[in-house]
């Protein structure tokens, strides 16, 4: 039943709040644990690692039970890699010896090879240095490498970028994307930054005040009007798209999603590559007829599937691309006034005008 899934159930008091977190998700790709600061994200991750112990707890990964009523496997016997918020390198060891600390010795024909990790994370020039003389971003890269070389079956990352400035983040994110693409390793990734989640995650666990409010595919949860994501300031959907044409003359590319196509300004892309698009709800407006002339290039037929009214006199609508609404899901946020003026309602066929589409993931996902 719990074949290749991560299944957790932790209940109890931990410090100042009550944790009551359950979810079960396939153990593959990147699963983001997302929620406001102090909602218990780190607590859940520490429980999975065995660093904290809940009296009432269950945790199994790929059919292996790490904790139940009778079992509590100690941290060092769980096949995990853990990347802390602060890199936590061993200051008395060189970068090279930090990397090798968890590397299995004699039987060590690891699936994740030293040279591979060093190349993946760009660590070649750092190996003989001391962690004291590394920048924040370099330290975090070494910490990721160290975790990978311990040959984990599950990589846990607790806000690995939050202690870094924006420039350093931008420097590390591509490495994380490459990791995702190059290794077949399930990753749990804590973040309170939706942009990071949209870029990296395939699945999402939404948390709030110690509890899990939803868990599932990122694309599906973003398009779920019952969840707080859909009314947040930067409500958006992520769409996994395929490059079908490259228009070098004007620097754009055409990407296909189920039920439609988007024209996106982009650096040269290879036809057939998959990329992730992000469309903000505020960037999608609705029209009853197809507009004849407009600077907005992405105008697509769609169907209104459901709506949610917000307290601030705005309406968020869930749309399905294509006249029958069976294609990819988009969110559109418009004012109540224009909603009523256009006499919009669920089930209606409309045109969506998409003002902005962002390419968020550069590397194709695995």
């Amino acid at each position: 039943m719990t074949a290749n899934t991560i299944k957790v159930d932790f209940r109890g008091r931990l410090g100042r709040f009550e944790l009551n977190a359950q979810f079960e998700l396939p153990a593959r790709g990147v699963t983001a644990i997302f929620g406001p600061s102090g909602c218990g994200k780190s607590a859940v991750m520490r429980c999975i690692a065995g660093l904290n112990r809940m009296k009432t707890g269950f945790c199994s990964v790929a059919g292996d039970v790490w904790q139940d009523e009778k079992t509590f496997r100690p941290v060092h016997q769980r096949p995990i890699g853990y990347v802390f918020q602060e890199a936590n390198l061993f200051p008395h060891l060189s970068v090279h010896r930090n990397l090798m600390y968890g590397y299995p010795g004699q039987a060590g024909v690891g699936a994740i090879a030293f040279d591979e990790v060093v190349a993946l994370l760009g660590l070649e020039k750092l190996l003989e240095r001391s962690p004291r003389n590394l920048s924040g971003g370099e330290r975090q890269r070494v910490a990721i490498g160290r975790a990978l070389l311990s040959q984990p079956k599950l990589l846990l990352m607790d806000e690995p970028l939050s202690a870094l400035d924006q420039m350093t983040k931008d420097e590390i994110l591509p490495y994380l994307e490459r990791l995702h693409a190059a290794l077949d390793l399930p990753i749990l990734y804590i973040s309170h930054d939706m942009a990071e989640v949209e870029r990296l995650a395939d699945q999402l666990v939404l948390m709030r005040s110690g509890g899990v409010i939803a868990a599932g595919l990122l694309t599906e949860l973003q398009a779920d009007l019952s969840l707080p994501l859909s009314v947040s300031r930067d409500a958006a959907v992520s769409l996994d798209a395929t490059v079908i044409a490259q228009n070098e003359a004007d620097g754009t590319a055409t990407l296909a999603v189920p039920g439609g196509q988007f024209l996106v300004p982009a650096e040269p892309l290879r036809i057939g590559d998959s990329r992730r698009l992000r469309v903000l709800a505020d960037d999608v407006s609705l029209a009853r007829e197809q507009p004849s002339r407009s600077t907005i290039v992405n105008v697509l037929p769609a169907k209104i599937l459901s709506i949610r009214s917000q307290s601030d006199h705005r309406v968020t609508a869930l749309l399905g691309l294509g006249a029958n609404g069976a294609g990819a899901r988009l969110l559109s946020r418009v004012t109540e006034r224009s909603w009523n003026e256009l006499d919009l309602k669920t089930g209606l066929e409309v045109y969506v005008q998409v003002k902005g589409v962002a390419l968020v993931r550069r590397e194709p996902s695995a």
Binding site: L51, V75, H76, Y82, N88, L89, P91, Y101, S150
Partner: protein, 227 residues
């Protein structure tokens, strides 16, 4: 001016006593310091206070209780009867026991501080890298706390060299067995052998100065290393 008697005998004895005491203190004090730094039990500070008592207790008081404990009617006498002796008081092993108790806080405190300063994170990181608690202790905790070990060892050694009150109470003044430096100096002064006394006294001044200087240099190095 000629120096009388074997002036070096007390020096040798003192160094033997201090070395042995320091080794025992590192072996016994390390687990105590680790427990004090890591335990979450509420009564651990009571244990810490117990270990620290010799800091404020008059050495003669400690010496008095040790004399009772090591004597023929105490546990020390019982232990001594195993090899046919009557008492541990006024013997070298008795001195070692007394010195260990008396210098304990000087070793435990710096090591505990070093373990405290390290925090939980390095040990957690080691555990997530598959290191058993035992391996993590030796490969992470001990190297990170090494300045604390060095400080503790130096202080424990120096403090044992300088002790007087406890030795006077439980050791007496047996040449080659319990007559250590501080007692010897006292003895030379009592018998007006000023030359011998001043050689030993000056030696102690130089020794103490070196110890304090070494401590300061270590401390400086530690502040530089601290991440």
């Amino acid at each position: 001016m000629t120096l009388s008697g074997d002036i070096w005998q007390p020096v040798r004895l003192t160094l033997e006593l201090a070395s042995l005491t320091t080794i025992i203190l590192l072996l016994v004090g390390t687990p105590v310091a680790w427990w004090l730094a890591r335990s979450k039990r509420w009564w651990k500070e009571a244990v810490a206070a117990l270990v620290a008592i010799p800091l404020v207790l008059p050495p003669t008081v400690l010496g008095f209780y040790l004399l009772v404990a090591l004597g023929p009617n105490g546990p020390g006498g019982l232990l001594a009867s195993l090899w046919g002796a009557r008492t541990l008081a006024f013997t070298f092993p008795g001195l070692v026991i007394g010195s260990v108790l008396f210098s304990m806080p000087f070793v435990v405190q710096p090591i505990r501080n070093a373990f405290d300063a390290m925090g939980d994170r390095p040990m957690e990181a080691a555990a997530t890298l598959r290191a058993s608690p035992w391996r993590a202790f030796w490969t992470v905790a001990v190297p990170l706390a090494s300045p604390g070990f060095l400080t503790g060892a130096i202080l424990g050694f120096a403090h044992t060299v300088g002790e007087f009150g406890v030795v006077l109470m439980i050791g007496g003044n047996i040449p080659g067995k319990t007559k250590v430096l501080s007692i010897a100096i006292y003895d030379y002064v009592e018998t007006s052998q000023w030359a011998e006394a001043s050689v030993l006294a000056l030696g102690m001044v130089v020794f103490s100065f070196s110890v304090i200087l070494a401590m300061m240099l270590i401390e400086k190095k530690v502040t530089r290393i601290a991440p």
